[in-house]
Amino acid sequence: MDKYQYQAVRIMEYVMLVAAIILIIFGKITGDTFFLRLATEALIFGGLALSVDLLLGIVGLLSLGQALYFGFGAYLSALILRDWVPSFWLCILLVAISSAILGWVTSYIALRSKGVYFALISFGLAQVFAKSIYNTRALGASDGMVGVPIVQIPLPFLTLNLGDAITFFVVTFILMSCIYFALKYFLYTPLGRIWGGVRSNESRLPYLGYNTQTPKRIAFILAAIVAGVSGALYPMLRGFVSPELMYFSVSGNAVITVVLGGVGTLIGSLFGSSLLMILKSIIGTLTFHHHIVIGLLFIVVVIFAPKGIVGILCTKLKERATR
């Protein structure tokens, strides 16, 4: 990552932080919950986008089925909270472990292929999973599951009530920040560099002593955990889950937000997800057919700005510096 990219990423990080603070203040003053909940949802899907970016931007694997792990996390979370014990920590822990296992198992199917085939297999995996859930009565079939209770988070010095919009937003923001910085940390380790090696020149890596399946598998499992944990927050926010969470449109939207924000920048995914949520709600008030607008926007970005917003920022910074 050159210094302009580094700067651009830093700027975006601050933008997100400042935006969050403004939102919190706004919420406290006006007592509004709508925008806070919207922002929380944006961050939750931002987590899904992070998992897509990890695979696509860092390792070079386009996954069109990350919604599988997202939906899995959501369903598991709903089951735990509603039918077992409404404990936040237990839920997150179990979802993380289960997602890791699921990611590990599916990696043996998905990682057999590369490039386009990998994309299509990941697509197929998610479709099959979604259809299977759709067909399962016990999981509510096409209606999904409702009635997920509002959760409290017990901490040593206080108890957070996730029913409060501001609290939930802050919790989500902190959680996503942790995930973001954890992923960012990995990027700067030798493992991160090997991932980069897989992305830029996979065939050479064995001659440096590293077989490529292991680093790919690690990334794949990490991505599953990130998507799963993000998904686990969904029923906590909305109170229900449905098979739609695993449909291709969810995976596809995640990819769109990653490209919008900037592939490989990680922060771009969070920003892109927030931006898309804002756009959807603005456009949604103007017309029912926001998909058309989003689709057009996406095409424009892919053709004219494939490096996304962070990329544009980076270019502008470079121009300013070399003037």
Binding site: R112, G124, L125, S132, N135, V255, H291, I299, P306
Partner: protein, 294 residues
């Protein structure tokens, strides 16, 4: 034994075959676009849907099924052409071409699906079966339309193969896609060839849509539902192989229709997918590979 063959299996096999040819036609378009143009067309299913919707509308206007079969693909040709010229060409020379075209066509698919909702509404339509009645074949009654599908489809597939491998148009297309610069210097209008090839591919999908509309009904999300099957056929057959698409198409549709005898049809998609994954585990590039050699 012979009776169960006649009354239970044969109908399913014929059903599978009649659907199979339509699926193959659609997969052919997809595999041609990938094999010749190196583009992953995620919007292919939406062109299939477009064919179905346009077919319903035209027939609703009173135009006969036969004319519709001819008109609909032709209607889609300019769209395909423009899509290639205006959109796909722009990202073609990027080193991440595969991903970018995939994303680009995905964007188009998103737009198209919503567009269909706008134009035709969200309800399901089902055009009347163009050829009614049934005929007896080998002692079993089969719906005429299905028999027609089988024969017409097989003919079309053969025609496509002939076109690509046995005609001079076909060799021009193959030359242009194999070596762009060389072909251009020989006077071949490479851009036009690419655009027409893409248009041809999506026209095949649209034709498929018209053919299958009386069987599967028509609704805005039909493109998404069908695309997994199309991709499964193309992947199992080998991206870019016509022979592969035919064989894989027959295999998977037979699998689908025969398996519905034993398990609930809602599980047919997972089965098809499982087969796809299994094939890929042992033959990562599909059964046959490459269009350059047929």
């Amino acid at each position: 034994m012979l009776e169960s063959l006649q009354y239970i299996y044969a109908p399913q096999i014929i059903n599978g075959l009649s659907i199979g040819v339509a699926v193959i036609l659609m997969a052919l378009g997809l595999t041609i676009i990938f094999g010749l143009l190196d583009v992953i067309n995620m919007s292919h299913g939406e062109f299939y849907a477009a064919g179905a919707f346009l077919g319903v509308s035209l027939m609703g206007l009173g135009i006969s099924f036969w004319w519709t079969l001819i008109i609909v693909p032709l209607l889609l040709v300019p769209f395909g052409y423009l899509m290639q010229e205006l959109l796909i060409k722009k990202v073609f020379h990027h080193k991440d071409r595969h991903i970018l075209t995939l994303l680009l066509t995905f964007g188009v698919a998103t737009i198209l699906e919503d567009l269909y909702k706008v134009i035709w509404g969200a309800n399901t339509a089902k055009p009347a079966t163009p050829i009614t009645g049934a005929s007896e074949v080998l002692g079993v009654m089969f719906p005429n339309y299905r028999l027609f599908l089988m024969m017409f489809g097989a003919l079309l597939i053969f025609a496509v193969w002939l076109l690509i491998y046995k005609t001079s148009i076909g060799s021009i297309v193959r030359a242009a896609t194999l070596d762009r610069n060389m072909s251009a210097s020989l006077g071949i209008p490479v851009n036009r060839v690419y655009a027409l090839t893409f248009a041809f591919g999506v026209a095949l999908a649209a034709l498929s849509g018209v053919l299958l509309a009386p069987i599967y009904s028509v609704f805005p999300t039909m493109g998404k539902d069908f695309i997994l099957m199309a991709f499964a056929v193309v992947i199992v057959g080998g991206l870019g192989s016509i022979k592969g698409a035919v064989i894989a198409g027959l295999l998977l549709t037979q699998l689908q229709s025969l398996s519905s005898l034993f398990i609930s049809p809602v599980w047919s998609d997972p089965i098809v997918f499982a087969v796809m994954v299994l094939v890929l585990m042992f033959k990562p590039s599909g059964l046959y590979a490459g269009m350059k050699n047929g």
